[in-house]
Every structure is written in C-alpha cells, then in structure tokens.
Amino acid sequence: MAKYTITPWRHHSNLLIVRSQLYSPDPTLRQAAVSRTMAWKLRGNLPHAVESTALLVDAFLHHALPSNSPFSIRAVYSAAFTRFVTGFCDIGRNRERALEPSSMLEIARQIGMPAEFVALRHEATHEDLPSVQRLVAACEQALEWLWDVYWSKIDEGAVVMAKQAEAEDFGRVTVEARRIFRDFRGARRAALKKKNGPQSQEARAVVMEATANLESLCSDRAEATQAAIAVLVADELLYPSERELAAPLGGAFMIWDDLLIDMTDSPSTLRTMTKTIFARMITPVSAHKTSDIGSDALCIWLAHIASSETWQAMRGAVSFDVRTDLMRECCVQPGHWSYLLGTALLKSSRDDMFIEAWSDLLRASAVNIDGADTNIETDDVSNGISSLMETDAEAGSFAEASDLATSWQRALFAPQAAIGVVR
C-alpha cells in the first residue's frame, strides 16, 4: 500500500520558493515567506523545522523595526528560540516512547543539536531574558542548524535537475516534432497525388516512417507526446491555412487520419489529443469569435474523431469513450463552439440512450452563452448535420426558473479531478 503524507504547500516547488525567500538577504522577500509560512500553519501539517525557521526570521525582521522596545525585541527572539528548541526536543522525546523519557539535553545530543541551545532555552525560560547580542548570535546559529538538518535536504537535487533536463528536452521535442509533421505532410501529399489512394504502399510508408520517428522522439513519455500534439494544434497543421468557414476537411482527413490513429495507441494519448484540440477550439484567436477558421476546423475534426467510420476501429480498441468525454467537456465549458460540437455529436449519434442522456444537458448548458445566439447554422458543420435543435423557447424558461439559484448551482457532473483541482 502506498503511503502518503499531506503537506500544507500545494507543490514541492512552493516549499523551495519559500526556502529561497527565508534565506534571502532581501527583507521584503523574507517577510513574504514568513507570512506565507504562517498561512501554511493555519492549514495544518506544517513541519516544525519550517515553522521554527519562519519564527526565527520573523524575530530578525522585528528587530530591524526601529520603533520596537528593547524588551519586545528580546522577548520575540526568546519566544522564537524557545519554541524552536522545545519543539524539537518534545517531538524527539515523543518518538522515543520510553517510560523514563530522556532529558532535553540527551535528546538534543541524539539529534545533533548543540547543547548551548538547550542551555539558552533554559536561561530564557527560568532566568532573566538573555541579552540581545547573545540572542542574535544564537538565532543565527539556529538558522544555520535548521538549514543543515532540514532545508539542505529538501531539494532532491537529482529530481530537480532531471526536471530541468526534461524541460529542455521538451523544447527539443517541439522542434523535432514540428519537422517530422511538416516532412510528413509534404511527403504524404506527394504520395496521395499519385492517385493510388491513401492505402497505397508509398502512402503507407510515409505514415510508418513518421510514426516510427515520433515514437523514438517521445519514447512513451506522456509529456513528450503532449508536446508533440501541442505542435499539431499550435502550428495549425491539421487544416489548410486558406479555407472558408465550414468548408469540408476531406483532404486534411486523408492526409492526417492514418498518422493520428497510429499515434494514439493508448486512451491517455487519445484523451490528450482531444483535450488539446478542444482547448484550442474554445479559445478562438480571431476577433470574430464565431467565425474563427481554426476553431471551426477543429470542431469538425473532433466530430470526425468521435463519430466517423475511419476512427471507429480506433475508438473500439481503446477503453476510453471519446464521444462521452467530449460531450461532457461541451456541457461543462459552454460556448459557441462547444455547442456546435455537442450538436454535431448528438446529430451523428444513432444511440438513443446517448441522445437522451445529453441533449437536455447540452441545451441547459448553452443558456448562458453570450448573445444567446444558440441559433447557429449547424448545417454548415458538414457530415450531414442538417437542421438545428429546437432551442430558445425552452431554454428561456429554464433560465428563468433557475434565476434564483444561479449563485449556487449543483455541478452537472461528478468531477474527475482530485480535490484542489478545478478541472
């Protein structure tokens, strides 16, 4: 069974940032880190070393303010230092679980904490507050000790370096993938022009070569595959740059289908591809959002992947329901293009269950689309999608009924993301 531990920071990188800030010479950065650490304290599960460091740093920041009285300066140093030492010794003692718990001094010895720390703690608690000079020296020493015991061990240097190397690697993947895809497009076009059809030996060979190149480039790393797919979308490779809105994409399908199908050998790759395409589709780049050529083409592409016969074998082979997944995205992220795609998916479906399950949801989700132009000519969306759904009357009444509760809405779907992740 895997064992998990909960941290107050979202990601490890947050902790690394806070470390660099706590030990930075810039007081603004140190102040920010202290404040953030105190916020983590409120979340719970804050390691004592992190808390102690923040308290000690805060004492130094407090000292630097000219208006503070000598007593308050000594008191803050003493409190930060005492809590630091007591905490370490208490935790160590708890861990020991002996009937006769060891003395603080003994625990300090075991964890390699200097004996003077314990002595100074004793003095600050039971005798006069130590002088500022001594407190400053001790707190500086404490910060160094904490660095050695805790902070110097958190970087997992190797991991960080590997991640950086990977990031560079992805830069390479992007460049390489771009070359592979462009070469492929040229070669495939040339092969197809010879009129032997997409299944001719030559046309197939082009696909095989590109697939092999991509495989060796990505070598089963999800992030690399993702980078490659991003190139396809970002470089607008999947459709002709000069095209009319809603023009059919038969030629593009013929060029790309085989390669894409070969590439998406796993459900996760297929999902990455549809997700990437979807994300680009719903963020049109041209000023006229509803006549963005790219969004239009990608919408047709997604409908093609989710319902065409060419992709049928592929869809059957992976255990991932593309159509349902896309439909869910359409409802969750409503907008002009989502609605078009959703409608296309419904129209092309011969599955009554699917239509029943989704048509109301799609309509409901489209209620709040800007300008209420749900009255879209879906005729254009190719693939024999003919007429539009009966929309506005019903949609209007739905909006009215839910008007009261719009500030509290039940999510339409069970989320698939982890706690803390929106989608």
């Binding site: 069974m1 531990t5 490890h12 390691p47 808390e51 339409l412 706690i419």
Partner: protein
C-alpha cells in the same frame, strides 16, 4: 519537573507495564544512544509541532503495510485477551442470514460487527436499553474500535434473533485505512459474529466488553425514576476526565430513558467539540433522540431529516477546542439554551442530557462551572478522578449527584484524532434521509455546488476567519481544500441584521472577506444572530469563473433555503481534512494511476512518503502524548 511527570504519564500506556516490544525499543535506544542520529533529526524536523501529530501523517499508524515491522508492532500492541467467558450459547436457529439464540436469565451474548436484533420472546438489555418483543428491530453497530456491547437476558428463557445487514457505513472502509479492520464477518459471511470469548475475534484486534455494571445500573434506574417523578423536567450532566466513559454513560442514560419513561425520548446537548456524539467535530448542538443509541458516534450522524436523531439547532465554533475563545463557546451554548427553553415552554418538559468535554482542569473547569449555571443542571454524575476544582462546584450546583467509579481503561485502536477523522468522513458521506445511509464514492467524485463569489452575482456574502487573522493575500491558499462552516444571517425579517453586517473587502483574486480589526483577531459573529447550517469542504476554487466548489451533506431543499439569507463561510481551526485528499487514492489501490500522479507531484498537498527504514520504524509513535491533553 512538571513537564517530565506529564510526559511520563502519557508514555506509561494504560496497562502500566512495559511490553516486550517497548523493552526491546529501550534496549535499542540505549545502543543507539552512543551516536548521533541524523535520520532522527530529519524526521523530527519534518514533524509538525501542534499537538495533533505524533508521526508523519496520523493515518500511518493504522495503515497495514506489508513491512514486517508493522506486523510485529501490531501483534505486540495487543493487550492480553480478556478473560471473559460465557457458557456455550444455545443456538436454536442458524441460517445464512440470521441466528437465533435462546438465553437463560442473566446469560450473556457478545456479538461483534453490525446486526439487527429482535427479541422474539422474553426481555434483554443492551447498552442500558431494555429490548422486548414490542421494541421491534434495532440496529446495533459494534465495530472493534470500541468496547463491544453485550446482550444480557433479563428473563429466562429469552429468544434473541440476530440478522445480518448490508450496511453502507461499512463501505467507507474502501476509502480510508481508519475504517479498515474494524468490522467482522463470520464463516457464513454474515455481518456479525458471535464471540464465545473476545480472543476469538479473527482479526485479532484488541476487543473489550461493554457491560453495564451494578453501580451504573443503579444510577440509571435512579435517573429514569427521577425523569418520571419530575414529568421529564430533568437536566443531567456527566463529568469526568478524558476517556473515562462519559459518552458511553450518556448513551446509557438516553437508552434508559427511551426504555423506561412513557415518552421514550430526550434532548441531547452535545457540548464536546472534540468528540461530539451526533455530528462532525467543531460545533455544539442540540439533538432530539427518539431511538436508543446502539453504536459509536460515527455510526449515527444527526440531521434535520433523521427520525431517530433529529438535529434541532447547532452553532459552530469552527474549532475542535474552545481553548482559543471560551467566551464564544459559552455564547454558543447560551444561545442553544434560549432555543431549548422556548421549545419546552408551555409543553411537557423533555429531559436534557448534556455531553460535556473531558477537559476538567484549568480553563476547562472554569468554563464548565460557568456553564453549569447557564444549563441549570439538576443531576450530576461525577466519574471518579482528580478534578476537585470542578467536582466541588458541580456538586453544590445540582440537586442530586451520583458518584460513578471510573471504569477500567479500555484500549482503543484509534487515537482521538483518528476518531475525529472517522466522524468527519461519516458526516460528509452521509446522505440526508430518514434512515442513515452513506455513499461509498470518494468525496472527490461527489458533485459539488458551484458557488459564485463574483461581486455581481454573489452566492456568499463573505468568508470569515475565526481565530488568528489571515493575511488576505493568502486567504485563497488557506481556504482551498479546507473545511468551512456554512452560516447565515437572516435578511428577510430582521432589518437590524443588515446593520450588523460588517464591512466586506475583497482579496486580490476577488474572494470576499471580513477584515480583522487591528487587534489581530475577529470577534466571532453573535450566535444569536446567525444560523449554522452545515460544514462544507472547499473542493476547489475557480478564480476564472469566480466560483467556489463546495461539498456539503445539505440537501437541495436546504440549499434552496439558503438563497433567502446572507450566507457566510467560516474558516477556523478544524482539523486539516487529510482524509479527503486521499480517498480516491485508497479506493482504487489496484490501479497505480493515482500513485503515479502523486509521485509526479501533480496532486496538490499530497506526497508519497519515502519508505522509512528500520530507524524510522523504531521511532514511530503510537500514542500521541500531546494530542488533546488540553482539549476534549
């Protein structure tokens, strides 16, 4: 020296003897003492110092890893089997679903697990409740986390029918290790198991027997008698240190009232925010009890819709202890008592059972003495213990007091923090209905409420922080994935309430909040002006859509009721909901996808814990000496 003595008390396990394993540890510690241990220093450094933590991640204590270390510890931790024997019981009927026993007078049956019990003939007691043929079917939950209730025949011959049940509570075991290994099944796959002796339990967990002894029985009889004498006008409190059996005894009082008074019901005032009987930790509440209580707290969350344990009113402290703001605590109780008096006025009185916290020294005692006046206690049960500061005034202030010997300490397989986790999970997974039901879906896959916090269409008025002030720029980081209470101010009727609403500011990413005054802490909202509805988990914050994703057990109709009110979310000092981040990971352990995600650092707040070596194993702590010594 005081510090030392305290630590010693805590380390001395209830048994008070040095187990072989602890001795081995000591020896080892001695051997290692010669050298400094950097690994130890590192492990200490990563442990939070907040009174809740004894080892990295509380749940690790019960996770059953494959490591041989764990197995050893598990065995050693078992107390000696209880020498508790019954005669060989007379089983008259035994099929795949049920079992019927024929008991002679005073004969005892001890059953572990979960079952429906019916008396076909005769009479028997369980948990202080008198079972008769006319009391119908009663559901009993007897997990191995607590002492097992026994069925004692009060007449002979008594015919007892036990029926296997298909419970949804049990399905929570998929979601967290704290719910694992606490139920049982017998060789026929029935949900219960008849124990001849407690050492028979197959999972070898420490089991003990909950039996109503003569002293308790005497007090219960007297209290039930006084309820009848005074036509229900009785207010009973049980006082005693932590883990001295207060909750158990309160359950028995409720059961005695249910069995022996004509109205068969009582009101239960839950004043222990750390281990409440009927709800999630962090509130005080008043519950109407109309059925016997035959299980531990996590088996019966109260709700507005429940027939058996109906939630009448609750006020949130937003903290599992009242140590930071005793005045607010008293104000919350006072407000509930106002409602209680209004409720019983002009009608027949209903007996009130008060579940006090186990904090009976220092501040805890001072606060409780104040509360005794607020509550108007008539009868006090004092469990033996060293707390003269509270016991003296309590005796003086009540008409009748009873002394109850402290029952022998029972080993529990769950720490207080783990029990709170179980209660929280039980609460968030319970579904509003008249009979208790729990959903087995991981909490991450429950449909959240999408609550807008935009200025134009606000679903909440503001976020309020009780306790230490929160820097606005960090509010979102603190709030995300945490537990909040949903409270509201009625704006439709009370116009003065409008003026009470404090100023609202917005954080850089748009979250509305009430700023703290220069003093650094916010005075909590007056419980008399607000209504506490429920707790919620902030599942996610979507700054783009300006929505909070909230998960709450409230029903749709209750949410609709919120629309008429000014809703606020209270963030305070609830336990970090670690369980919520892990449910989906635990529920699907066969697939490694989740684990991989964690390893890649893609899961917020969750990291894989490196397998600790022998050294880490040795230093792992089982009983948190700090946890809850100060709070209930």
């Amino acid at each position: 020296m005081a510090q030392k003595r305290k630590a010693k008390d805590a380390f001395g396990a209830p048994e008070g003897v040095l187990s072989a394993f602890a001795a081995a540890r000591l020896k080892r510690a001695d051997q290692e003492a010669a050298g400094v241990s950097p690994a130890l220093a590192e492990e200490v450094a990563t442990t939070p110092y907040d009174g809740h933590h004894s080892s990295p991640g509380a749940s690790t204590r019960v996770s059953r890893g494959g490591s041989p270390n764990d197995a050893v510890e598990e065995n050693v931790r078992l107390p000696p089997p209880i020498s508790y024997r019954t005669n060989h019981l007379n089983v008259v009927d035994d099929d795949a679903e049920s079992m019927t026993l024929l008991l002679g007078i005073n004969e005892i049956a001890c059953i572990a697990g979960e079952y429906d019990v019916t008396i076909l003939d005769g009479a028997a007691t369980i948990y202080g409740f008198l079972l008769r043929p006319e009391s119908g079917v009663q559901r009993v939950y007897a997990p191995s986390t607590h002492a097992l209730p026994v069925i004692t025949a009060r007449r002979g011959p008594t015919k007892v029918c036990l029926r296997s049940v298909k419970s949804s509570l049990r399905t929570l075991e998929r979601l967290s290790p704290v719910f694992r290994n606490i139920w049982t099944a017998d060789e026929k796959e029935r949900s219960f198991k008849l124990l001849q002796t407690s050492s028979e339990n197959s999972s070898q967990r420490p089991l003990s027997i909950l039996d109503t002894d003569d002293a308790s029985q005497g007090i219960l009889t007297q209290i039930a008698g006084r309820v009848n004498e005074r036509d229900g006008d009785l207010r009973v409190i049980t006082l005693g240190p932590k883990s001295s059996g207060k909750s158990t005894f309160n359950r028995q009082i409720c059961n005695a009232i249910a069995a022996r008074t004509p109205k068969k019901r009582c009101l239960y005032l839950d004043l222990d925010p750390g281990q409440p009987e009927f709800g999630p930790p962090g509130q005080v509440s008043l519950v109407e009890v109309r059925a016997p209580i035959l299980g531990h707290a996590f088996t019966h969350p109260a709700s507005k819709k429940s027939k058996s344990y109906r939630l009448l009113v609750t006020n949130t402290l937003a903290s599992t202890s009242f140590k930071d703001d005793p005045e607010h605590y008293i104000a919350c109780v006072r407000d509930i008592m106002v409602g209680y008096r209004a409720r019983v006025q002009g009608k027949d009185a209903q007996p009130l059972i008060v579940n006090a916290s186990g904090w009976v020294t220092g501040l805890g005692a001072t606060v409780m003495i104040d509360l005794l006046d607020v509550l108007g206690i008539t009868d006090t049960v004092l469990i033996d213990g060293d707390y003269p500061l509270l016991a003296g005034p309590a005796r003086e202030k009540s008409e009748v007091f009873y002394k109850l010997p402290r029952p022998p300490a029972r080993p529990s397989s769950r720490t207080p923090a783990e029990l709170r986790t179980m209660q929280m999970m039980s609460y968030f997974h319970s579904q509003a209905s008249s009979v208790p039901r729990w959903t087995a879906k991981p909490i991450s896959s429950l449909k959240p409420w999408l609550v807008s916090y935009s200025a134009t269409n606000p679903g909440i008025h503001a976020i309020v922080s009780y306790g230490q002030a929160v820097p606005p720029e960090h509010l979102s980081e603190i709030l995300d994935g945490s537990i909040v209470a949903i409270i509201s101010i009625d704006i439709s009727t009370d116009t003065t309430a409008q003026e009470l609403l404090p100023m609202v500011l917005r954080t850089p990413n748009g979250l509305p909040y009430i700023p703290a005054p220069p003093s650094g802490y916010l005075v909590p909202l007056d419980p008399g002006q607000t209504t506490t509805h429920s707790l919620a988990l902030v599942r996610a914050i979507d700054p783009e859509m300006q929505t909070l994703h909230l998960i709450t057990p409230l029903s749709e109709s209750e949410i609709a009721g919120l629309m008429e009110r000014r809703v606020m979310l209270v963030r305070g000092n609830f336990d970090s909901p670690d369980w919520a981040y892990l449910e989906d990971l635990y529920s699907d352990e066969t697939k490694d996808a989740g684990k991989k995600e964690v390893a890649e650092g893609k899961r917020p707040w969750v990291r894989l814990r490196e397998e600790v070596g022998v050294e880490g194993g040795v230093w792992r702590v089982r009983h948190p000496p700090m946890a809850g010594q100060i709070s209930g």
